[in-house]
């Protein structure tokens, strides 16, 4: 029997969590193994079927178990920081070798670790300490620091070959045990036997080999002669910076392949319109991105439009976009790249797609591209954008796309669409825009959703029947949406039964479901406003602290619901004293209560306002009109 087998075989009949018994490793060795395990790297060595059985994110425990049972006997690597050939060479230098039949990695965990043998070319302890002297006090072997912290944080430089990654932080890297250098390690993976080496390890070896060239006597002589002439070239008293040796470590190598891979993944050579979105999740902007994309597709035909998701690998609501429009998740291709690399990959992709226009719909990367390289982009495509609203920070100051990014991008923008006339007017006024600029700022109402609901009369029937007053609140449980006001309103009017639909998205507030007043019921997420029990509520409550024209207000309006709403952003363009109950004192819970009481005091009047609002939005927020205006804009430009 091979020696490794006796050491990794689970003990028959063992139960309980004793790792000594169940995994056949001493607990200290097992702990080291856990530190070293890199699930995504391990998965990359498995075939599709095995990966499927382990799942997309199996976690460290499952991967370690699989490794000990399956991977170790097959020679797979569970740690990106263990290189069997490098380890064998370092062992040989101290007169040791891995005994025949033993798994080299397990040998290192048991023996090499205690002898301080560094098993990877990616880490140089002397370099690490010289460049991070604060680590002199690290209580363990310095490799332990890099294994457990350094490889997950961008600031640590482990080797003369540098950081090994593009410099971008990843808050989840340590939790997932994904070293930041993993994208570089898996670069050109099909060209390497990952059980032994990788693009990154070969690149670091190349750097180390080239640095050894400085020991060549002939070269040394030439350097010495030059140093006689200019002693400063040895940079005395300065710490050395990392060595670069392209093609390895040249960011352009990975960026070029990322741009090519992204273009290939999109599956189309050329498009007329590229829509840049940040991601796709529960938000009004995502819905508008879908509406615009649909209108552009109708105008240009199939394959004339591509959607590129640029900021987060989240695409929760693909149904918002037409089925036959191609969607690219660019984030997958630029993982680990810091700016300006991601910006430049997007630029390269756009150039390759040769679009007539690029449209920014809340894409941060898109706005950065236009702000910093707008002249380049405008040289091959018209640049259009949507602006919805600014944001407000915790000090009450405005920020967001209509502030800095708009200003940076303005010289290069062919047109800007606003769904709120107030937002447009504010920008035109602040910049005192002349006619030529004003004409490029276009107010265009978004069409209402494609469903037909009319709950007119429900309020009066419910009030006549003496049912409890039930309030609908729907949206994101984020700071902007001011759920804290809902809580206050619920406390002021305990007789109200407030049904709150939605979920936290930005997770920028503390919401403790157990600390809510009993008359608030959290109903969970909803898939479409028309799926809500609209005929079982009396009115819609809207409390946002800032916004453009919120979808939920439009959807409530088109359904015939009476609405009590904060008079922020573009809301007063929809909810007026003639069509609903706008609340001017938007931070004051008592003001909302007063509006609610006015609504409840005269259900017939409230119903009449709701009916008028429903009539107006069906007239003004028309889908056919939206499509025809987008088609005209794309065909003739903003002056049409």
């Amino acid at each position: 029997m091979r020696q490794w087998a006796s050491r990794v075989r689970p003990t028959a009949g063992a139960d309980g969590p004793d790792v000594e018994e169940t995994q056949g490793l001493a607990s200290s060795v097992f702990e080291r193994l856990r530190w070293c395990a890199h699930p995504r790297f391990y998965l990359a060595q498995l075939d599709e079927g095995e990966r499927g059985r382990l799942g997309d994110e199996p976690g460290v425990e499952a991967v370690v178990k699989h490794y000990l049972e399956v991977g170790a006997p097959r020679g797979l690597r569970v740690s990106a920081l263990f290189n069997p050939d490098w380890y064998a060479d370092r062992l040989a230098e101290i007169g040791l070798a891995v005994p025949d039949g033993e798994v080299p990695f397990l040998h290192w965990l048991r023996t090499g670790w205690d002898r301080r043998v560094v098993p990877t070319p990616l880490f140089d302890p002397d370099w690490y300490l010289e460049h991070h002297p604060v680590l002199e006090s690290h209580p363990r072997w310095i490799l332990h620091h890099y294994l457990t912290r350094g490889c997950y944080q961008p600031q640590w430089v482990p080797s003369p070959a540098g950081r090994h990654h593009g410099g971008a932080a990843d808050d989840g890297a340590a939790r997932r045990q994904d070293p930041l250098f993993l994208p570089e390690l898996l670069h050109r993976a099909v060209d390497h036997d990952l059980t032994r080496t990788s693009w990154l390890e070969e690149g670091v070896r190349a750097v180390l080999d080239r640095r050894r060239r400085l020991d060549d006597p002939a070269l040394r002589t030439q350097i010495d002669i030059a140093a006689d002439l200019e002693p400063g070239l040895h940079s005395p008293l300065r710490v050395e910076l990392p060595t670069v040796a392209p093609p390895y470590a040249h960011p352009g190598t990975r960026m070029a392949e990322a741009a090519t891979a992204a273009h290939s993944a999109l599956g189309v050579d050329q498009v007329d319109t590229v829509v840049l979105v940040p991601h796709c999740r529960m938000s009004g902007a995502a819905r508008v991105a879908g509406l615009f994309t649909d209108a552009a597709r109708v105008a240009g035909g199939p394959d004339s439009v591509a959607v590129v998701s640029t900021d987060l690998p989240v695409f929760e609501r693909p149904s918002l976009f037409p089925d036959d429009v191609r969607v690219l998740d660019l984030t997958r291709h630029v993982a680990g790249m810091a700016q300006p690399a991601r910006r430049d990959v997007l630029h390269d992709l756009l150039q390759a797609l040769r679009p007539a226009r690029v449209v920014l719909i809340n894409s941060l990367l898109g706005w950065q591209l236009v702000g910093e390289r707008g002249e380049d982009v405008a040289g091959f495509a018209d640049v259009g954008a949507y602006l919805f609203t600014w944001e407000i920070d915790e000090h009450g100051h405005r920020y967001g796309y209509p502030v800095g990014p708009f200003q940076q991008g303005l010289p290069h923008l062919s047109w800007v669409l606003f769904d709120s006339d107030r937002m447009r007017a504010e920008l035109v006024d602040r910049y005192l825009m002349p006619a030529a600029a004003r004409d490029r700022m276009i107010f265009l109402r978004n069409p209402i959703a494609d469903f037909s609901v009319d709950v007119g009369g429900v309020l009066e029937r419910r009030r006549a029947a003496g049912l409890p007053v039930r309030v609908l609140w729907a949206g994101r449980f984020d700071r902007q949406k001011r759920f804290d006001l809902v809580v206050d309103i619920a406390r002021l009017r305990p007789d109200l039964e407030i049904c709150a639909w939605g979920k936290p998205v930005l997770e920028d507030i503390d919401l403790d479901p157990d600390d809510l007043p009993p008359n608030i019921r959290l109903m969970g997420v909803y898939d479409g406003f028309d799926q809500l029990p609209l005929d079982e509520v009396d009115f819609l409550l809207y409390t946002s602290g800032w916004d453009g024209i919120p979808n939920v207000v439009l959807e409530g309006a088109q359904s015939g619901l009476p609405i009590v709403a904060s008079a922020v952003g573009g809301v007063p363009e929809v909810v007026t004293p003639e069509t609903g109950y706008p609340v001017a004192e938007v931070d004051d819970p008592a003001a909302y209560v007063a509006a609610i009481e006015a609504l409840l005091a005269d259900p017939a009047a409230a119903a009449a306002r709701a009916a008028e609002l429903r009539r107006q939005v069906h007239q003004l927020f028309d889908a056919d009109d939206y499509r025809s205006r987008i088609a005209k804009l794309l065909a003739e430009g903003p002056m049409s």
């Binding site: 002939a218 350097i223 400063g232 670069v244 392209p246 093609p247 392949e257 741009a259 390269d348």
Partner: protein, 218 residues
């Protein structure tokens, strides 16, 4: 009278007295080349040179180096003008403030003379030293892992190269203006020469020393 084998050109700008070190390096490399049997035309071109730089070069001709004031102030235009006036079969540029290893002209000329007219020679190492030693090993275009597409995102080669003088005339430097970022000129020239079919090769045992790595050289 036949053309010299090499025109070695130092481009002087705003270096001030430091230009003397580069002038010394030019002289040493030219002397080494002459000792190897090559004929060398050594020149300093004054491209928007500051008074301090001019003052440091007033005795250059006593060291066998011709000094030529250029009309052009744009860095690319200045190099193009210098290339147009060069008499040598091959041309090597040295930037003001930089230093060659003494063997540069001999070794680079040997590579170009033996490798055909479409080779552009680069040192094995670029050694930057202002903020701590930083070594950059430029790629040899014949390396199997090299992908020219990388040039879309960053430069690989400095334009302080040696090549047949005809190369500089066929693929002139872009005139990017004085405000261009350091290294942009080199990057443009790298791309243009690759597109024109030239091969960038490295010359073993040679080094170019400069104070600071341009951001474009990755």
């Amino acid at each position: 009278m036949s053309a010299p084998d090499i025109s070695a050109i130092l481009v002087a700008g705003d270096e001030g007295p430091r230009i003397g070190i580069s002038l010394h390096s030019l002289v040493d490399a030219a002397t080494a080349a002459r000792s190897a049997g090559l004929t060398v035309e050594a020149t300093v071109v004054l491209a928007a040179a500051t008074p301090g730089t001019r003052a440091a070069l007033v005795e250059a001709e006593e060291h066998g180096v011709r000094v030529e004031a250029l009309d052009a102030t744009d860095p690319g235009a200045a190099r193009n003008q210098a290339a147009a006036a060069a008499a040598g079969e091959h041309l090597a540029f040295l930037d003001g403030g930089a230093v060659w290893t003494q063997n540069w002209l001999v070794a680079a000329h040997a590579l170009c003379a033996g490798g055909g007219a479409r080779v552009i020679a680069h040192p094995e190492i670029h050694w930057f030293y202002e903020v701590g030693r930083e070594l950059y090993f430029p790629p040899d275009q014949d390396d199997p892992g090299f992908d020219p597409a990388a040039l879309r995102f960053g430069n690989c080669w400095d334009a302080q190269a040696l090549a047949a003088t005809a190369v500089y005339r066929e693929v002139p430097f872009a005139e990017l203006g004085a405000d261009a970022e350091p290294g942009e000129l080199d990057w443009h020239w790298s791309r243009a020469t690759v597109e024109a079919g030239y091969r960038h090769r490295v010359v073993p045992e040679t080094v170019n020393f400069r104070r600071r790595r341009p951001r474009t050289l990755r």
